[in-house]
Structure formats: structure tokens, C-alpha cells
């Protein structure tokens, strides 16, 4: 099982071929995509294998593999695969039309590989200190992707991103120290006092005061990574300025990594302090986050910014689902993590088609895309419908599960949740329809074909179509193996 975990974590590092000074975007993209495919295949194998087996640990608990870890690794590996294919296509075009120099392209692939491997590794970090180190490391690697094109706007976004998230993650380090202190009554070695498995097993013996502080600081600290309000301010900038495949990685991958850390802390707090303290905190942050997310989605400005606010909304939804609690709430939260990851990766990859084709990120400068760029316009509408939670896409099913969990807890909260969902729907679908339909005013330049070569079109199209197909499958039914993995993972926490 440990060998499979390494086989999930290491293959994306194939993209490191880009350190070679004469490496081109197509060579690096191919290597990265092969690595990502291998990693995803291993993640599927690990998930299947894990269902019938007890959790495994290695290296004094620094590596820990349980259903929760397997599920998140599967989600992130899938996002890495979709974004790698997208990167191979996107970066090739950017290199050919001279928007990025060969050095910048190589920088992109090197840090993309490190970023992916860091995120995947953090899923198997059984030691909460190691988890912190890996999450901070992947944050730093991704900051380079945000600031890649070195224009003033990108540098500003990258600076805001790196300074605010580093500060937030430092708060999470304080949480780690307090958690370590909360276990001082336990007769465990120093490594074990940060090992999630031991802490969870001895949760009743942890010092409650220190644990309360640790949980609150962990939600604030890792919540900065997740984009919980009011620590979300870096998120729309970073996600809109990064190259589109990197935005997909940030929105669909990195946010989930932060959420994974919060779930680990939530499990300990839940087992030690009872359900109400962690649930109240998560519900509070969740509703504030969802409110701000949907309100800013009503603005019609930069479409990548709107998608970033939609990610904020969805992280609020996951947090609310964790707050509703119960096996149903946790099942819904995890299913939502997976569905949102696929849908948002597809939506950001689609936005790349518009950035390349129309050379703009403004909603108002894109009209009649269905006529001018039929593929891009069509998938934009479908992907927006998927993210907004329309059947038959998977997000609908997971949001329905969360609403059911909500009615069990409190009908009023579930009602507010539904209203917020409706507002988000209006914002997202409104702008998608505005971009896809209508006639382009003659003042606007006609769009060019985003991917001139046939290979490029294929590489860019496969992850979008494949992701949409997966979402339809997940919307019709949850495959039994996946459902079982999810159930096991939800029971780890509940």
C-alpha cells in the first residue's frame, strides 16, 4: 500500500525534465502528462485496494494511508491529470505566439511538477507537522505559477498570494504547536504526539482548552488557503492572474488540500470536544464564505475572477456540509469536493480557450461565442451549468445530499443555503449566457482559433470533454466502489 502511495506522489515529477535548458513546451508537457496519467492510475488502484484493507502506516507514522487520504489523493490526482493535459496545450500556444519566453515555459513546468507532487504527498502525511511543511511548500511552488508572466498585475497578485497565505499558514503552525501541547499528558514519543492516528485514538485524553485554540487557529490558518471569508482576499487575484491550467490547479487542487487539513483537525476536535464546538465554527465560517462568494459572483467583470468567487462559494458549501455533520453531511461534503474539483478544473480550462481566442478576460468583451467558437462556447455553457449545480451533473447530486443533511440539522439554515445557491446560479449562468449568445458588436475584434494546431486542439479538448463526461456519470449515480470509499472516508471523521 505504501508503494502505491509513492506511485501516486512521485510520477508528476517527470515534468522536471524541463530543467534541461533546451526543453520545449511540448516535450515537457508530454512528460508531465504521462507522469500525471501514471499517478492517476495508481490513485485509482490505491482506492480500490484500500477498500478491503485496514489503514496502513510507515516511517514512524509520517506516512499514513486511510480511506480519507485515498479519496483526496484520487481527487487531486484527477485534477493534476486534467490540468497537465491543459498545460501541455496552453503553454505550447503561449510559447509559439511569444507571450512567454522559453525560460518562463520551463519555469512553469518545473514548478507545476513540484506543486503537484507536494499536494499529492500532503495527502499521505500522517504527521500533522509534515502536513504543514508540505502544504506551505506547495503554496510556495504555486506562487511562482501565479507570478509567471512577470507583468505588474501578475506580480501584484503573486505578492498578495504569497504574503497572505504564508501568514495564514504560519497561524496554522501555531495551531500545530498548540495541538502538540494539548497532548502533553499522553505518554507518547515526540513524533507520535503529532501523528494524526495517535492523536485521534487518544482524543479523549487531550487537554480541551489547548485543543479548542488549536482547532480555531487551524480553521483560520488553513482556511486562508481554502479561501474562507474573511481570509479569502488573495484568492480572486491569484486565480485570475495565473495561466488558466494553473488556475485550475489552484481552484480544484490546492483549495482541497487546505480543506483536507481542516477535516483532519475537525476529526480530532469532534472526537475530543464533541460535535457542537467544531460544527458551530465551521457553519459560521461556511455561511460567511458562501455569502461573500455568491454576492461577488453577481458582478459582471473579469470572468476568471467570477470563477474564483465561485470557488469561494463552493468551499463555503463544503465547510457548511462539514458543519451540518453526521455521516450524510460528511458524505455530501466529500462528494462535493470531488464534483467541484472536476467541474471547476473544466471551467478554468474552458476559460483558457477564451483567454487565448479573445485575448481578454472581460465578460463584456465576449459575445456570441457559440457562433464564433462553437466548441469553446458550448463547453462554457455546459461547464457553467455543471458548476452551478444543474442536473444531470454531479454537483447537483452532492448539493442535494448536503441540503438533506441540512434539513436534519436545522431547516432554517438549509433554507438560507438554498437561497445562496440560487443567487450563485443566477450569477454564473447569467454571464455564461451573455458570453455564449448574442451578436458581437463590430467594435470588438473577431476571436481567433485558440489552438491553431490539431494536436493542441486535441490536448485542450480531451480534459474538458472527459471531465464533463465524468460529471454526467457522477450525476446519474455514484459508482459502487467510489461510494464505498466515500462511506469509509466519511466514517473516519464522523
Amino acid at each position: 500500500m505504501t508503494a502505491l502511495a509513492w506511485a501516486v506522489t512521485l510520477p508528476p515529477l517527470l515534468g522536471l525534465v524541463a530543467v534541461h535548458p533546451r526543453c520545449t513546451a511540448s516535450a515537457a508537457g508530454t512528460a508531465l502528462s504521462i507522469g500525471a496519467a501514471a499517478s492517476f492510475a495508481s490513485a485509482v488502484a490505491l482506492g480500490v485496494y484500500d477498500i478491503g484493507h485496514a489503514p496502513a502506516q510507515a516511517l514512524e507514522g509520517f506516512v499514513y494511508i486511510d480511506p480519507l487520504a485515498c479519496f483526496f489523493a484520487l481527487t487531486v490526482a484527477l485534477v493534476v491529470l486534467l490540468a497537465s493535459l491543459g498545460s501541455a496545450a496552453y503553454l505550447r500556444v503561449e510559447e509559439e505566439n511569444g507571450a512567454l519566453s522559453s525560460f518562463q515555459v520551463r519555469l512553469y513546468f518545473v514548478f507545476f511538477s513540484v506543486f503537484s507532487a507536494g499536494m499529492l504527498a500532503s495527502m499521505f502525511a500522517g504527521n500533522l507537522g509534515l502536513l504543514w511543511v508540505l502544504i506551505e511548500a506547495s503554496t510556495l511552488a504555486s506562487a511562482v505559477l501565479v507570478g509567471l508572466d512577470a507583468k505588474a498585475r501578475a506580480l501584484e497578485a503573486a505578492w498578495k498570494y504569497v504574503i497572505i497565505s504564508s501568514f495564514g499558514v504560519t497561524i496554522a503552525l501555531v495551531a500545530t504547536v498548540f495541538l502538540f501541547y494539548a497532548g502533553s499528558a499522553l505518554h507518547l514519543g515526540s513524533n507520535q504526539r503529532l501523528t494524526w492516528y495517535y492523536l485521534f485514538a487518544h482524543a479523549h485524553a487531550l487537554q480541551p482548552g489547548a485543543l479548542r485554540i488549536a482547532f480555531l487557529l487551524a480553521v483560520i490558518g488553513y482556511g486562508t488557503k481554502v479561501g474562507l471569508v474573511p481570509m479569502h482576499t488573495w484568492l480572486p487575484d491569484a486565480h485570475s492572474e495565473a495561466p488558466s491550467p494553473a488556475s485550475a490547479m489552484l481552484s480544484a487542487g490546492l483549495l482541497n488540500t487546505g480543506m483536507y487539513a481542516i477535516i483532519r483537525y475537525d476529526a480530532i476536535a469532534h472526537a475530543s470536544l464533541g460535535a457542537s464546538y467544531p460544527q458551530d465554527i465551521l457553519l459560521g465560517f461556511g455561511f460567511a464564505t458562501m455569502f461573500v462568494g455568491v454576492m461577488f459572483m453577481l458582478r459582471r467583470g473579469n470572468f476568471k475572477r467570477q470563477y474564483a468567487y465561485s470557488s469561494i462559494e463552493h468551499m463555503g458549501i463544503v465547510s457548511i456540509a462539514l458543519g451540518f455533520g453526521g455521516v450524510l453531511g460528511l458524505f455530501g461534503a466529500l462528494l462535493q469536493v470531488l464534483n467541484h474539483a472536476i467541474a471547476k478544473a473544466v471551467l478554468f480550462l474552458t476559460s483558457g480557450q477564451f483567454v487565448l481566442g479573445y485575448k481578454t478576460r472581460e465578460i463584456s468583451e465576449v459575445r456570441g461565442a457559440l457562433g464564433a467558437l462553437p466548441f469553446a462556447g458550448g463547453v462554457l455553457v455546459l461547464a457553467s451549468l455543471a458548476v452551478a449545480g444543474t442536473p444531470p451533473f454531479g454537483v447537483f447530486l452532492s448539493e442535494l445530499t448536503i441540503v438533506r443533511a441540512g434539513f436534519e440539522k436545522s431547516p432554517v439554515l438549509a433554507g438560507v443555503f438554498l437561497v445562496f445557491l440560487a443567487v450563485g446560479f443566477i450569477g454564473l449562468i447569467g454571464s455564461a449566457l451573455a458570453m455564449a449568445t448574442g451578436t458581437a458588436p463590430s467594435a470588438l475584434p473577431a476571436p481567433s482559433e485558440p489552438y491553431p494546431s490539431r494536436t493542441g486542439r486535441l490536448l485542450a479538448g480531451v480534459p474538458i470533454v472527459g471531465g464533463l463526461g465524468l460529471l454526467v456519470v457522477l450525476g446519474l449515480f455514484v459508482p459502487s466502489g467510489l461510494g464505498e470509499l466515500l462511506m469509509h472516508a466519511a466514517k473516519v471523521v464522523a
Binding site: 509520517f62 504527521n127 507537522g129 509534515l130 504543514w132 511543511v133 506551505e136 511548500a137 510556495l140 506562487a143 511562482v144 507570478g147 512577470a150 507583468k151 505588474a152 498585475r153 506580480l155 501584484e156 497578485a157 503573486a158 505578492w159 498578495k160 504569497v162 504574503i163 504564508s166 501568514f167 504560519t170 497561524i171 503552525l173 501555531v174 504547536v177 498548540f178 502538540f180 501541547y181 502533553s184 499528558a185 499522553l186 505518554h187 507518547l188 514519543g189 515526540s190 513524533n191 504526539r193 503529532l194 487537554q207 482548552g209 489547548a210 485554540i213 480572486p236 487575484d237 485570475s240 492572474e241 461577488f296 458582478r299 467583470g301 475572477r305
Partner: protein, 230 residues
């Protein structure tokens, strides 16, 4: 099985306890000095001095408990935070970008000092009484370290220049470190080493971004970083 919670039981009256408390007070004063200063070279000097005191504190704990890992940590702190980071910031940022006087403050110095004092009181009230038992050195030092964390954050808020924000974050990091060695002397060394590695990588990446921003905007103040809103 490692002997646990050794330092947590160190009393304030012992020699090591007194040295720790004194060191923590010096670290707090240096954080206030940084908050009350207006010259870029002073920021870096105060940060360097604070790191040297911090490595002294780590050395006291290492001596008291005869821990090789803590000696290594004290040495790392001295070399990386006390010498290397101040040197790199001076050479690559202050001298090359010709930074002298920081004018990008969003509030007056006296206001920020008063807010800083309130934050320190807040740290004492929330952490001291509720969580930690009385009479131990951790009870005296941990509120101070939380105050340093908050003061570092405050520095990042009231300073708009990117270099000053970087120093604010580093001060926060020092506060966390002070809390970690007193609250949890047995904190795993591998994790601490990883934290150091991340710190070095973060400083390098931030230095690159700051010089990039400064070259494009002539002055890297957040007031001019206004393109991204809403």
C-alpha cells in the same frame, strides 16, 4: 519513549527559567522597536537582533535539557535568521533598490504602538489564564510569543511597503518559533527542519517578487498595487 513535557514543567524561578523570560521580553521589545521605526535598515537590524536573541533562548533550552537537536536548532536560527536573511535583504533589496525611509504607513507610529500594546494585553488575557497552569515558564513566555505573532501581523497591516511586510511576516515566524520551543521543547526536529526549509524558500521567492514589483512600479507600496480589486 522520549521523556515528555520536560520543559513544560520548568518553573519560572530557576536560572534557565529566568533567562528564558528575559529573552522573551527582549524579543517582544525588539518587535515593538520594529513597529515604531521608520527606516528600512532598522527593520532589518531589529529583526536580526531578535533572531540572535531567539537562538540564545534555544541554546538555553538545549543546555538545560542537554538536547543535541535543540543545539542544532539554535545554530540554524543563528546562521539562517540571524545572519543570512538580514544579509540577503540588505544586499538584494535595501542596497540594490536604494531603500532608505519608509513613508508608506497607513497609520501614525503612535497609533500603531498603542494598538500593539492592546494586542499584547489581549494575548495575556486570552492565553495566560485559561490554557496554561500557573508558575511555569511556559505561562510567562507563551503569551509573549503570541503577542509577537500579533505584532508581526500588525506590522504587515500598517506598513504598505512590500519589504516591510516581508519583515513583519518574519517577526511573526519568530514569535511562533519562540512559542514552539517553550511550549513544546520536544517538538519533532524533522518538522522544525522542514519549517526552516520552507522559510528559506519563501524568503527567496519573496525577494524575487519584491524586486520585480519595485522595478515595474518604481516604489513597491501597496497603495500603488491597486489594479486588482473587487
Amino acid at each position: 519513549m522520549v521523556a515528555t513535557s520536560t520543559l513544560e514543567q520548568l518553573s519560572t524561578s530557576s536560572v534557565a527559567g529566568t533567562l528564558l523570560s528575559l529573552g522573551a521580553v527582549a524579543i517582544l521589545i525588539l518587535a515593538f522597536s520594529c513597529l515604531g521605526s521608520k527606516l528600512f535598515t532598522r527593520y532589518v537590524t531589529y529583526y536580526g537582533a531578535q533572531s540572535v536573541v531567539l537562538s540564545f533562548v534555544a541554546a538555553v533550552v538545549a543546555y538545560r535539557f542537554d538536547s543535541g537537536e535543540l543545539w542544532a536548532l539554535a545554530a540554524l536560527t543563528l546562521v539562517v535568521k540571524g545572519l543570512a536573511i538580514p544579509l540577503v535583504t540588505r544586499r538584494l533589496l535595501l542596497e540594490r533598490l536604494d531603500l532608505k525611509r519608509d513613508v508608506a504607513l497607513s497609520s501614525g507610529l503612535s497609533t500603531s504602538l498603542i494598538v500593539g500594546a492592546l494586542l499584547t494585553a489581549f494575548a495575556y488575557l486570552t492565553i495566560g489564564a485559561t490554557v496554561l497552569p500557573h508558575g511555569l515558564v511556559a505561562t510567562a513566555v507563551v503569551p509573549l510569543s503570541v503577542a509577537v505573532v500579533l505584532l508581526g501581523g500588525l506590522t504587515m497591516v500598517v506598513r504598505r511597503h512590500a519589504v516591510a511586510q516581508l519583515i513583519g511576516w518574519l517577526i511573526t515566524e519568530n514569535g511562533v518559533f519562540l512559542g514552539a520551543i517553550t511550549l513544546a521543547a520536544t517538538f519533532p526536529f524533522i518538522v522544525e527542519a522542514g519549517v526552516f526549509l520552507d522559510l528559506v524558500a519563501a524568503v527567496l521567492i519573496m525577494v524575487v517578487f519584491v524586486s520585480g514589483i519595485t522595478r515595474r512600479l518604481a516604489s513597491a507600496t501597496a497603495t500603488e498595487l491597486r489594479e486588482l480589486r473587487g
